[in-house]
């Protein structure tokens, strides 16, 4: 069983254990209402995290996602406020925002070889400002919060069959699709190759620049998609929406087992990671402990989780080493004979 399989099991195990604990403290946790909400929360971070996973597999990082969420939702608000554009068109347009951002990021990262972290941080800053600039204003020029009443837009944020939120459904579809894409298409393979050994990838004739630009565009698109669902769920959006949510996204991806060094990780892990994060954040509220203690608990749980993972890895390596040793001595025995 691969190291990743094990870490998955551990993560799932931890989640079950925590769920059990929380349920004992407060059975409401297990109520369908709560679980559905929990999944929706996980999905809102997760949709962004899926795109982010692609970026991180190419050994990159995309700090601009928060900005994309902000601008995208502002774009939506504007169209809903001033126009009667059909919703499908609107959604398409909003995804275009993310794609464009990704294109710009990718362009500077590949063409000019600028460090991802700072390029995307810069675009984040630009987008943050842009969101404020394009925000709907009142006569005095003050930002005005628009209350969305367009039902076909609100459709996204609400729940459907069995009370499952459409955000969750979208997350699952996106996740499964992305996983298949990563693992079972040439492009997917190229993404791993680009992250694991770019030189080799280039030698094999893979266009690593195109791949890189591609993943940043995908990351942007995912962020835009999330923006649609979040703004729809809140029936409005603020210019600062999503800014500062980067850390949660990154945490989901990292807890899911995708490494900053690139080349490893997958969407399953990220989906688990975002679920895990949503679970502790939602669960902690059920315990009724003081809001002062909550961040301590959350931070602690994250650290412990990662430590456990490192330890199980060490243990496995140790065991493998011993097995190898056995084989070695066995071979020597044969030589002697």
């Amino acid at each position: 069983m691969s190291h990743h399989a094990v870490r998955r099991l551990i993560l799932v195990g931890l989640m079950l254990a925590l769920s059990a604990l929380i349920t004992v403290i407060n059975p409401v946790f297990l109520s369908s209402g709560n679980l559905l909400k929990l999944l929706q929360e996980a999905a809102q971070t997760g949709i962004v995290a899926v795109g982010f996973t692609f970026v991180m597999i190419t050994a990159g990082i995309d700090m601009s996602i928060g900005g994309v969420v902000a601008v995208t939702s502002m774009v939506c608000i504007n169209f809903l406020h001033y126009t009667k554009v059909p919703i499908p068109v609107l959604v398409f347009l909003s995804l275009f925002v993310g794609a464009l951002t990704g294109l710009v990021n990718g362009f500077f990262i590949t063409k000019y070889k600028l460090p991802e972290f700072i390029v995307t941080l810069a675009t984040r800053s630009i987008l943050a400002g842009l969101a404020l600039v394009i925000a709907v204003k009142d006569s005095l020029g003050f930002v005005q919060n628009v209350y969305i009443q367009n039902d076909s837009y609100l459709w996204f944020g609400t729940s459907g069959l069995f009370g499952i939120y459409r955000t969750t459904v979208a997350f699952l579809i996106l996740g499964v699709g992305a996983q298949i894409f990563l693992k079972h298409t040439r492009t997917g393979t190229n993404i791993y190759a680009t992250g694991a050994n770019p030189t080799a990838a280039r030698l094999t004739g893979i266009d690593t620049d195109r791949t890189t630009i591609g993943v940043y565009m995908f990351s942007g698109i995912c962020a835009s998609l999330a923006a649609v669902f979040i703004s729809s769920r809140m029936m409005t959006a603020m210019p600062e929406l999503g800014l500062g949510s980067e850390m949660d996204v990154i945490a989901s991806v990292v807890i899911g087992g995708t490494a900053f060094s690139g080349g490893v990780g997958d969407v399953w892990g990220t989906m688990l990671g975002s679920l895990f994060l949503a679970l502790i954040k939602n669960g902690i509220l059920k315990t009724g402990i003081s809001p002062w203690i909550q961040p301590i608990a959350i931070g602690g749980i994250i650290v412990v989780t990662v430590i456990v993972d490192v330890w199980q890895k060490k243990l496995r390596e140790h065991l493998e080493a011993r097995a190898k040793l056995k084989r070695l001595s066995a071979e020597r025995g044969r030589d002697a004979a």
Partner: protein
């Protein structure tokens, strides 16, 4: 080479290829040709233009002028990797171009994975089956589902070859393929080359190891300073000749055999029953003042592990070490302060700080001297750096030069310089000249000799047999982590060591 031998049977023909980077000419009207189904060696010092020529052939870079005809078709000026592959030009690179985290099959078919009909989805089973077929055809010791990370370097090279064969390769270009292989692995590679040849696939072979070129090639093209020196046919090929053509002057020594003369003097290092479980067992030997003790054996025989343990880089499980007569439990810091140096096996990964200047690289192990009270004396640091550069004539001799941008030879010189600028008593040297051109090699040899002349004891690990025989005063051969045989006061030849390393003991030498 049973095939017809006339110009008509040329697979690749390059006429007066010229290439210059920013005004500096690296290839000057070079003619070059490879026949169908021949093994052709391309030799020359680093900077002679070999790699540029290869890059042009494989479409990794463009040429300024000159014609190129491949398999009867004229190759246009803009000739890209893709086009080269389409033509059937396959390359096996020096630094392996495989993707960690992927399986053997995935690597073989990277970029050309078989797809499920009517979909863009990869047909994994089919891919593995095809990989399996290839593997069986050449009966390589591989499994399609093995992770690259878990197989040996030699196996990875086989994957490289399969990767090339999986396309319709009509020529296979091998750049320093054996630099990281053990004797047996090299032999396997040679078998494979023979096999390819028998299938009518031409092999263009680049190597610094003369004995290989000698053993393999049907023809040898020698380049020097971007110009074609000579094309040797099978019967003309001899290492001395090649080397003469390459570096213009004849080597004073025969590279094949060497007279061992033991050094007495006081014992510097005394090793007794040293054991590290799974690496080496019960090793005992003395190292005398100014002595060069060669450690022979195949990769994986525990040589590298031994010197690492002696240096303090790794721990060991049993045995005692005495250094300068005192009980000694090594640690890197203690070793350095005690006047012990270490030149690690893998220059790029273990030797150099690629993003740092020559000065900083030389400075790092000497911080105790250039920063006695924690504050770096820049004057002292620069002085030592200058001395190191001058001593080993590092090129370019610019102290602020980033070591990552130096040639392999000069990088290794910097690694050596780190230690030569401090007064050493003992130095461990592991594979000092892997992938380094003849010129630099000779210079490094001179320095090792100079060290021993200065009374510094040297423990030399090498897979390069001439190197071992020429430099050592005494040679110990390890096999599977155990002491196998010691050669002293005798005429030592490469194959004696090889035979010992491969487990054939011959008592009559003592």
């Amino acid at each position: 080479m049973t095939k017809v031998e006339n110009g008509a049977d040329l697979l690749l023909e390059c006429r007066s290829i010229t290439k210059s980077y920013s005004g500096h000419v690296v290839l000057d009207a070079v003619d070059f040709s490879v026949r169908r189904g021949e093994v052709h060696a391309l030799v020359g010092e680093n900077g002679a233009g070999k790699s540029t020529l290869i890059k042009i052939v494989t479409g990794a870079t463009g040429r300024d002028s000159g014609e190129m005809v491949y398999d009867g078709t004229v190759v246009p000026m803009e000739h890209l990797r893709r086009d080269a592959e389409a033509l059937g030009i396959a390359v096996i690179y020096q630094e392996l171009s495989l993707i960690p985290g992927m399986t053997v099959a995935q690597n073989i078919f990277l970029g050309k994975e078989p797809l499920r009909p009517l979909t863009r989805l990869i047909d994994v089973r089919k891919m593995n089956d095809q990989a399996r077929e290839l593997i069986d055809r050449y009966n390589f010791p591989l499994k399609p589902t093995d992770l690259i990370d878990n197989i040996s370097i030699a196996q990875r090279q086989l994957v490289e070859i399969l990767k090339a064969l999986s396309g319709k390769a009509s020529i296979m270009i091998m750049d320093e393929p054996t630099s990281s292989l053990t004797k047996t692995e090299v032999e396997m590679l040679f078998k494979i080359i023979a096999l390819l040849k028998s299938e009518g696939i031409s092999v263009l072979y680049i190597s610094h190891r003369m004995e290989e070129v000698y053993a393999l090639s049907d023809r040898v093209t020698v380049l020097r300073d971007g110009k074609l020196v000579k094309v040797l046919d099978k019967e003309e090929i001899s290492p001395e000749e090649i080397i003469r053509l390459m570096i213009g002057h004849k080597l004073e020594e025969k590279a094949v055999q060497h007279e061992l003369t033991p050094k007495g003097g006081k014992v510097v290092l005394e090793v007794r029953g040293l054991t590290s479980v799974g690496k080496f067992e019960d090793l005992s030997f003395d190292l005398h003042e100014g002595e060069v003790l060669g450690i022979g054996g195949l990769v994986g025989s525990g040589r590298t592990e031994l010197v690492r343990a002696l240096y303090g880089a790794d721990s060991f499980d049993a045995g005692t070490i005495r250094y300068l007569g005192k009980e000694w439990v090594p640690s890197v810091r203690k070793s350095i302060e005690g006047g012990i140096g270490f030149i690690p096996e893998e220059r790029r990964l273990q030797g150099i700080l690629a993003t740092q200047s020559i000065t900083r690289n030389i400075g790092i192990p000497n911080l105790d001297l250039i920063a006695p009270r924690g504050i770096v004396s820049v004057k002292e640091e620069d002085r030592r750096a200058a001395r190191g550069i001058e001593l080993l004539n590092v090129k370019p001799p610019r102290p602020e030069q980033l070591v990552g941008n130096l040639s392999g030879g000069n990088q290794q010189k910097v690694v050596l310089a780190k230690w030569l600028v401090r007064d050493l008593k003992l130095i461990f040297i592991d594979e000092p000249t892997v992938g380094i051109d003849i010129g630099a090699k000779e210079e490094i040899y001179d320095h090792i000799r100079a060290l021993s002349a200065r009374g510094v004891s040297v423990l030399l690990v090498s897979s390069d047999l001439p190197e071992l025989t020429r430099l050592s005063d005494r040679v110990i051969v390890l096999r599977q982590g155990r002491f196998f045989q010691e050669f002293r006061e005798c005429v030592l030849t490469g194959e004696k060591i090889l035979r010992a390393a491969s487990g054939i003991r011959e008592g009559d030498d003592e």
